[in-house]
């Protein structure tokens, strides 16, 4: 089997996913186009030698519909022989795109493939693509489907994480993200977003609130208590799946959940031969990747399960991983994963995560792969495992190794 290598990884800064966010005035197509242009230009890439661009994107409607990956290949003036495909595995779409890119290379059917993602939540908000999962009674009624926030609170209840536990985690995320930015740890991969005139419109992650403390978070009201306890009462649906619980402890709020942001990210994956032909130096090797389905009501326990599966594929142990990245969808998700895997917080999400910097859904997986590629080099470490929890009860993971 051909080995798959990562040659480059870039991302946009993350803009607030609201009407007052800096990237609101930039289309998703433009975000993806600018990333493709940057990837080509900084690597002197002969794009006719790139087989495909796979972009994760959760809401594939309106400006993100009709295969935005192919659209961006055209607008970035890449060689027309390079194809494009958009995919959706919810929050892990960006990571899944890289996994698929790797799979194409490893199978020998492609030589060089871009994996990544694009999502403009300020323009195409969550829920825009509808979907049977939430509204068709054949799944929502028959299979105890509940919103993610309730699932996150369900995890906190089941594993006994208090409001203080999750808030403390959030404070640490903000601290680490601020340190990482201050220390220039993201500078290798950040590509500023330009406006219609070519002026930089965003150069840094704009959602961050450095200096957030327990007191500030303590003032926030639980975000999911109303829909859980009152209308329409999702807690009761959760408890029909977990009847040993007498109630759900609503601990999550805007400050300890991932922020809603816009952004795009790319990871260049190829075989050794294909890289050599283009004069590129590999930065990391993809050791293994995996995806898994888990119980869909609690929904967000996939990271532990898929990490174990991925380690198994790689023939590795938990202790063989130097640094970990588990997407901070909600604080309880990372706490539960760390507890079940026995991974210490000191090697988990070392540069902060989505609680501080935001979670551009279909993009995040690719972004945090890039973060780990940079961090392995900076900290002189060997191995990293990156994983995300996924809607509908899934998990996706990848293990990379510095070369």
């Amino acid at each position: 089997m051909t080995k798959a290598f990562i040659y480059d990884a870039i991302r946009t800064p993350r803009g607030k996913g609201k009407k007052n966010g800096s990237l609101h005035e930039i289309t998703a197509l433009s975000l993806a186009t600018q990333q493709l242009e940057a990837l080509r230009d900084r690597n002197n890439l002969d794009t006719s030698k790139v087989d495909d661009v796979i972009l994760g994107c959760v809401h594939q409607v309106k400006g993100q519909g009709a295969d935005i990956a192919r659209s961006a290949v055209i607008t970035a003036n890449w060689d027309e022989k390079c194809a494009g495909v958009s995919i959706n595995r919810f929050c892990a779409s960006g990571l899944e795109a890289v996994n698929m890119a790797a799979a194409k290379v490893m199978s020998g059917m492609s030589d060089m493939v871009v994996g990544g993602g694009v999502e403009s939540l300020s323009r195409i908000p969550m829920g825009s693509d509808g979907g049977a999962m939430g509204v068709d009674p054949s799944i929502s009624f028959d299979h105890h489907m509940i919103p993610q926030g309730i699932s996150a609170d369900l995890i906190a209840t089941k594993w006994g994480y208090s409001r203080d536990d999750v808030d403390a985690y959030a404070v640490e995320s903000q601290k680490r993200a601020a340190n990482a930015w201050d220390g220039g740890r993201f500078k290798k991969s950040i590509v500023p977003v330009k406006d219609q005139m070519g002026v930089n419109i965003l150069e840094h992650d704009e959602l961050m609130r450095p200096g957030t403390d327990m007191q500030a978070l303590g003032g926030l009201n639980p975000a999911f208590a109303m829909m859980g306890e009152m209308m329409p009462g999702f807690d009761f649906i959760a408890m029909q799946k977990y009847p040993e619980l007498e109630s759900i402890n609503h601990v999550h709020h805007a400050g300890n959940s991932s922020g809603i942001v816009d952004g795009a990210s790319l990871v260049l994956v190829g075989s050794k031969k294909a890289g050599k032909k283009q004069g590129l130096k590999p930065r990391a090797r993809i050791r293994a990747f995996a995806e898994i389905g888990t119980e869909p009501t609690i929904m967000l326990t996939g990271p532990e399960a898929v990490a174990r599966k991925c380690l198994g594929k790689a023939g590795m142990e938990i202790g063989d991983i130097d640094i970990w990245e588990i997407n901070e969808a909600f604080a309880s998700v990372v706490l539960q994963s760390m507890e079940e895997l026995g991974v210490d917080h000191s090697i988990m999400n070392v540069n902060g995560g989505a609680i501080a910097m935001g979670h551009p859904l279909g993009v995040t997986g690719a972004m945090i792969i890039g973060t780990m590629v940079d961090e392995l080099e900076r900290a002189d470490k060997q191995t990293a495992l990156i994983t995300l929890c996924v809607g509908g009860g899934m998990g996706s993971a990848i293990i990379i190794e510095r070369v």
Partner: protein
């Protein structure tokens, strides 16, 4: 036409009057549907007719489908399901879709049609009105209600109800009608935009005709070009959260136990995305799918067919004729006696309410006053009616007033001597043919009857508390109780609109004996280390209205404690302690936790809120289990413990008719209604599987799950409880049998024990089936 008349007035407006001969109520039977098709065709093709008004010649408009006929029709398809499932299902669809296509043809007839609802219109009757282009309702008929009772028997409004109502008023407003069987009055229907106007009955036809004259181009909104689903369909920003929330709201209450609720949601969701013709086909498919579900079949059998039969006095001995109870005496004006007096006076019976002193008797009557005042305040009755009801109750201490009563209900303390002296005092006064009923729940009737000079007229009439809310009454036969006494007790129970079941004289009779098993299983699990929340929630998920610990709190833990002490002293050395004993003892002796009555029991009570007492873990003998059982395991323990006890009562002959056992289980102690009752649950599981599972439960948890020996034999023989103990409840009509293939008619006949062959004439076989019914 037999069921409808059609008169055309000078303006060319047809007045179609629904008035089925020889029926007190208009229902949508097959021959009625034939005639609807007939007049819809006339309406469409007769150029002299410019429009139509549909009304009824009876006090009510139409009560909906004929469920018994539907059951018979279904049995025909069921008989074919094994050999030709595709064909049987297709034919079933066609049969059910007939009404939908008739109504669809009505709304597309090209002429304006208005419904003049002079009275109650339920189910298919309401759906007929909704297929008209306008509706007017009488505002002076107090019995007029509009609604869909289908979901109560596990069905869905299958003649367009799930499609037209949401298209008129949106999902959220339609939900209470479709999913909770909410019935509305004329004024409410107008405010919900389901009815155009409410007018006096005398003006109804003319109002409707005026509307027809003024709206020659009437069209349903959904047949107009720019129709928009009210409130938004599932793919709109406003509709999406409603559709998403509806699943949760319905599951929260129903625990997903009722297939009809899921299918109603499916009909609305899928139908909202389709044009009407396709939407109606989807609705019919989901309706047929429900008919094929054993839960629905059980619910229809118990909650509709059996209930109607038993409520009419179906348990009456064959030798007896129904009679009327005009006046009763209630002795003991405590909470139970006061309740009996109340429901009796409500039903028009004169009541002599006796207590030791006048104050006690007056206090008993005050319950009626309090409850009626509430109803007046809510507009459910009038002051005049309340006064008339109160006037029927005479509170007194004078036994002399009992001289002309038809029946006595004795409801004094559970004390044999006291009851004996009251029996004597009453029998000195009451007529010789009056029946004496005791509302005891613990003392054998035959023992109490020893004090009676007329033990043949002595009987148990066991009410459940609170009397005005609980529908079940157990009629208990003592050793010498006559058929006459049973019949009179049934006369009384049917008059006060209760569901009376006849039970042999045994400790706990039927309902209390079974419900004890339910509460005990809660104690057992608590003692074994199952988390209290799982016990309670698992029970509710199994379909019980409240968890066993919650129920014990309502019944009162100190009562359980007293019974425990009594049983211990009665049995002496032979007493075998149960898992509940140390729990009950500690709750009372150590913690003074009596239940709801002193606001601390298995739950802590805080006004309307309650939460499980956090200290319950101490009762787990070996600590709370690390590995908690699955919800499915808890549900099985809950349902099997009760169903096995119910099976024992049938095996012992305590209760003879499975219909009564099923009704008793649902209305006596709330056994999961979606099963059709405790006995139907066994049949639905299949006795073979039931016995096998029960044996596993015996091995895991104890002998409370030991099935009666009878069931083992029945499992081997492939019998069912209804097959062995019941009478055939399916009734076939000639027309339904004629529509079934000949070989299937023979199968039905053979299943009924009739000698019939495919070589026989089909008409002869059908005649034999009809005769056998």
């Amino acid at each position: 036409m037999k069921h409808f008349t059609l008169e055309i007035d000078k303006d060319g407006i047809a007045l179609i009057t629904f008035d089925s001969p020889e029926r007190s109520m208009n229902v949508l039977s097959q021959d009625v549907i034939d005639e609807i098709n007939e007049w819809v065709e006339t309406l469409t093709n007769d150029a002299n007719i410019k429009g139509a008004v549909i009304t009824s010649g009876k006090g009510a408009f139409c009560a909906g489908a004929n469920l018994e006929e539907l059951g018979g029709q279904f049995a025909g398809f069921a008989a074919r399901m094994q050999d030709d499932p595709q064909g049987a299902k297709k034919d079933m669809f066609d049969a059910v879709f007939r009404l939908n296509s008739a109504f669809r043809a009505l709304e597309l007839c090209g002429k304006p049609v208005a419904a003049a609802l002079n009275g109650l219109a339920l189910g298919g009757g309401f759906e007929l009105a909704l297929a008209c282009h306008a509706r007017f309702a009488a505002n002076d008929n107090p019995k007029l209600r509009l609604g869909f009772p289908e979901v109560m028997v596990g069905l869905l409004p299958g003649a367009g109800g799930t499609q037209r109502v949401p298209r008129m008023i949106g999902l959220m407003n339609a939900a209470p009608l479709l999913l909770q069987a909410k019935k509305i009055k004329a004024a409410e229907a107008v405010s919900m935009n389901l009815v155009n106007a409410a007018v006096p009955g005398a003006e109804l036809i003319e109002t409707a005709k005026t509307w027809v004259r003024e709206n020659p181009k009437a069209k349903q909104p959904w047949d107009a070009d720019r129709f928009k689903f009210p409130g938004g369909g599932p793919w709109t920003a406003s509709g999406f959260p409603m559709f998403a929330g509806s699943s949760a709201m319905v599951r929260k209450e129903s625990y997903g136990n009722y297939p009809a609720m899921g299918n109603i949601l499916r009909c609305v969701y899928e139908g909202s995305q389709l044009p009407m013709d396709a939407a109606l086909r989807v609705e019919t498919r989901y309706f047929c799918q429900l008919l094929l579900d054993p839960k629905t079949q059980n619910m229809i059998r118990t909650l509709f067919i059996s209930k109607q039969a038993i409520d009419k006095g179906g348990a009456r001995p064959a030798s007896q004729k129904p009679g009327v109870i005009k006046k009763i005496g209630v002795i003991g004006a405590g909470f139970m006696g006061a309740g009996v007096a109340y429901v009796s006076a409500m039903a028009g019976i004169d009541v002599v309410l006796i207590d030791r002193d006048q104050e006690g008797a007056d206090k008993g009557k005050a319950l009626t006053e309090k409850e009626q005042a509430k109803r007046v305040k809510r507009g459910k009755t009038t002051q005049e009616k309340m006064d008339a009801i109160l006037a029927r109750i005479t509170p007194t201490t004078d036994y002399g007033l009992l001289k002309d009563v038809d029946l006595i209900v004795e409801a004094v303390f559970e004390n044999s001597e006291l009851k004996a002296s009251i029996t004597k005092m009453a029998e000195d006064v009451i007529p010789k043919d009056a029946v004496f009923g005791s509302n005891t729940s613990t003392i054998p009737i035959s023992d109490l009857a020893k004090a009676s000079s007329r033990p043949e007229n002595f009987i148990g009439i066991h009410f459940f508390s609170p009397v005005h809310k609980m529908m079940l009454v157990e009629i208990i036969k003592g050793e010498q109780t006559s058929d006459y006494a049973i019949s009179r007790a049934l006369d009384f129970a049917t008059r006060i609109r209760k569901t009376p079941i006849v039970v042999e004289d045994t400790r706990g009779f039927y309902a209390n004996r079974c419900v004890m098993r339910y509460i005990n299983e809660g104690y057992n699990m608590l003692s074994e280390g199952v988390k209290p929340a799982l016990i309670e929630q698992g029970a509710r998920m199994a379909g019980m209205p409240v968890g066993p610990l919650s129920l014990q709190d309502e019944v009162a833990i100190d009562l359980a404690y007293k019974i425990l002490q009594q049983t211990k002293s009665d049995l002496g050395n032979q007493y075998v302690a149960g898992k509940m004993d140390p729990i009950v003892t500690a709750m009372i002796e150590k913690y003074d936790r009596k239940g709801r009555k002193n606001e601390k029991g298995f739950y802590d009570y805080n006004g309307r809120e309650k939460s499980l007492w956090p200290e319950l873990g101490q009762f787990a003998v070996n600590g709370i289990l690390d590995e908690q059982p699955s919800a499915a395991e808890v549900k099985d323990r809950i349902l099997y413990a009760q169903a096995i006890e119910a099976a024992r009562t049938m095996a012992e002959g305590i209760i003879a008719d499975p219909r009564e056992a099923d009704l008793g289980s649902i209305f006596g102690w709330g056994f999961a209604p979606y099963t059709g009752g405790a006995i139907s649950f066994i049949d639905m599981t299949g006795i073979g599987r039931f016995v096998k599972r029960a044996d596993e439960l015996v091995a895991a948890y104890g002998e409370q799950f030991e099935v009666p020996t009878l069931l083992r034999g029945m499992a081997k023989a492939g019998e069912t409880m209804y097959g062995r103990f019941g009478k055939s409840t399916t009734t076939y009509t000639k027309s339904s049998l004629n529509k079934i293939l000949e070989k299937d008619v023979v199968k039905i006949a053979n299943a009924m024990g009739i000698d019939a062959h495919v070589d026989d004439l089909k008409a002869d076989t059908i005649a034999k089936i009809l005769a056998a019914q």
